[in-house]
């Protein structure tokens, strides 16, 4: 679906230009959730920003199946992006916030907005100003904004940060649903167990280098993770599921 070929990127500051991503090649496949994991400063957000067309590339190329990724408008119509910092400048109603997801298409469709609000279980907040909601409720409204246009590519930067367990699980179920409907989902995550449980593909980064990629079962092994996170992990099996437990 979205393919990155030998992508490298530099820091935005021109005076201290430093390479953040080195020669990364990967794919975000339709119908799959791809987790981008790694320690702080590994380049996860930069990789996501590069995939979204926000970080200029110093080398390599990005291709989206069937369209010109370099065209700003085409990109906007094929991508829905959720930033790490989900601030909104004005106390807009939740309905208006969700409708902003339709801006690249140049029309406002109330049916689509209502459906997205219902899909994320926030219909009851439709007319409430966004600043009157709790963090968890607000993140569901932002998810509705992300899903409203049924974009084929969804990219999210740490969407589960500051959410409680129920909130994080609910959000991952929404992403799973979007992927099952055919979207390619790329998501930066710190919770390895959530990634293990919900994702189909994992990109493991360290210092801007793609150290491993593949199915969670193949990447999330103590031998792969320990040198990268500098922490020892135990793998616990509970029923069919596996959990990574860092050694205290």
């Amino acid at each position: 679906m979205l393919e990155l070929k030998n992508v490298s990127a530099l820091t935005p500051d021109s005076t201290t230009q430093k390479s953040i991503l080195h020669d990364i090649s990967c794919r975000f496949e339709a119908g799959q959730i791809t987790a981008i994991v790694g320690p702080n400063g590994a380049g996860k957000t930069t990789l996501l920003r590069a995939a979204a067309g926000l970080a200029p590339l110093s080398a390599g190329s990005i291709h989206l199946e069937g369209c010109n990724w370099k065209n700003r408008k085409t990109r906007a119509r094929n991508l829905a992006y959720l930033s790490q910092f989900q601030n909104i400048a004005w106390p807009l109603s939740c309905r208006d916030v969700v409708a902003l997801g339709l801006l690249p298409y140049g029309f406002r469709n109330d049916e689509l907005v209502t459906a997205a609000l219902a899909r994320c279980h926030v219909t009851q907040f439709s007319d409430r100003p966004i600043d009157t909601l709790s963090g968890g409720e607000r993140s569901r409204v932002f998810m509705a904004r992300l899903l409203v246009a049924n974009a084929p590519l969804l990219l999210l930067d740490e969407p589960t940060q500051s959410l409680d367990v129920a909130g994080a699980l609910g959000l991952m179920h929404l992403l799973r649903g979007a992927a099952d409907d055919g979207a390619a989902v790329g998501v930066v995550m710190h919770d390895l167990n959530l990634a293990f449980a919900f994702c189909d593909h994992v990109l493991l980064l360290q210092n801007g280098v793609l150290k491993a990629q593949g199915a969670p079962r193949d990447v999330f092994t103590p031998s792969q993770l320990e040198p990268i996170f500098d922490v020892e992990f135990d793998v616990m099996a509970v029923g069919d599921a596996q959990y990574l437990v860092p050694t205290m």
């Binding site: 601030n87 909104i88 004005w90 902003l100």
Partner: protein, 332 residues
């Protein structure tokens, strides 16, 4: 959407009503019958001069200035995502004022009546040219604000220098009075001088409506929604300079309308930046026409300046707004 259209129509009708009533207010009392006669084209010569030459231009100019200030305030607040931004933030207002002050200082005001507005308009454009040269077209919002602040402060220093070096008290007083902002003794010539820049600047600002909505989600997300940030910054900076420069050049510096008008209408537009542009402009026009009418109605030895009255009423209004939770926005 329907709510916003209704609000725009209501404000436009109110502006028309207040503007018409305002024609009858002043030192010379006039009856509605005289106004109707003039509108029907059968008024006396005295009333034609009074309405057509003296009162109508200043009312139209007050409305135009208020419209520009209200729209500019809503546009710059939406662009910077900051409810405290005001139209003069990018330096065009002080730039225009410096141009006018220079013309007055050099004694050009008394020779040809349009030297002052012409000098002001040129300086407003020059200030934006300097702003763009210093900050660059693709500058970040923060860089743009700081460069605007520098341009504004430099123009302020120039005004202070002109006052400091003015050859006599009368010249200094003329400069000081001009800076207070007024629409008295303005003719249709002044309206026609301000109109092209104001119209073009307003159109540029109105064209940013959808982009301002996207920007509510932050610069990064807005860009993924298709926003061209460089293009938006250029349209806002040039639009603001043209429109503000055009009106300041004929009226002087009038504060608070651009800051307060967007805050007053925003709760009725669901706080959406695009929906608050036109209502802010119309309310700005209403506020300035009301202020000018009040100036003519208040019996003072020397007519009050418009900028003085807007500041006197604007500050308490702003303080009242601050007491109402959720009115200001920008807290989400």
């Amino acid at each position: 959407m329907k709510k916003t259209i209704k609000l725009n129509f209501t404000l436009a009708a109110l502006l028309l009503f207040i503007g018409t009533v305002s024609l009858m207010v002043g030192d010379v009392a006039t009856s509605p019958a005289a106004l109707v006669d003039w509108l029907a084209g059968v008024g006396s010569e005295f009333h034609v001069i009074l309405f057509e030459t003296i009162r109508a231009p200043r009312i139209v100019l007050a409305a135009l200035t208020g419209f520009v200030l209200g729209l500019s305030g809503a546009a710059i607040q939406g662009f910077l995502r900051n409810p405290l931004a005001e139209p003069g933030i990018l330096g065009a207002s002080n730039g225009a004022a410096l141009g006018a002050v220079m013309a007055i200082y050099l004694g050009l005001a008394s020779t040809v009546s349009y030297w002052v507005p012409l000098a002001a308009a040129v300086m407003a454009l020059a200030s934006v040219a300097v702003l763009m040269a210093v900050a660059g077209v693709g500058a970040s919002s923060l860089r743009l604000i700081l460069a605007g602040f520098a341009v504004s402060a430099f123009a302020g220093a120039g005004i202070a220098l002109a006052l400091n070096l003015s050859p006599n008290y009368f010249a200094a007083l003329e400069i000081a009075f001009w800076l207070l902002g007024a629409v008295e003794n303005r003719s249709w010539l002044h309206v026609s001088l301000a109109l092209p820049g104001a119209v073009f600047g307003c159109l540029l600002m109105l064209s940013t409506a959808r982009s301002l909505n996207a920007l509510a989600l932050g610069e990064e997300v807005a860009q993924t929604l298709g926003l061209n940030l460089r293009n938006l910054r250029a349209r806002i900076a040039i639009g603001l300079a043209l429109a503000i420069g055009a009106v300041v050049s004929v009226t002087g510096v009038i504060g608070f309308v651009g800051l307060v008008a967007p805050h007053l209408v925003r709760p009725y537009c669901g706080h959406m930046p695009s929906r608050s542009l036109l209502p802010s402009a119309l309310l700005g026009a209403i506020l300035l026409v009301l202020a000018d009418t009040a100036i003519r109605a208040i019996p003072t030895v020397m007519e009050l300046k418009l900028g003085v009255l807007t500041a006197f009423f604007g500050v308490p209004l702003l303080l009242l707004l601050l007491r109402r939770p959720g009115t200001l926005g920008g807290e989400a």
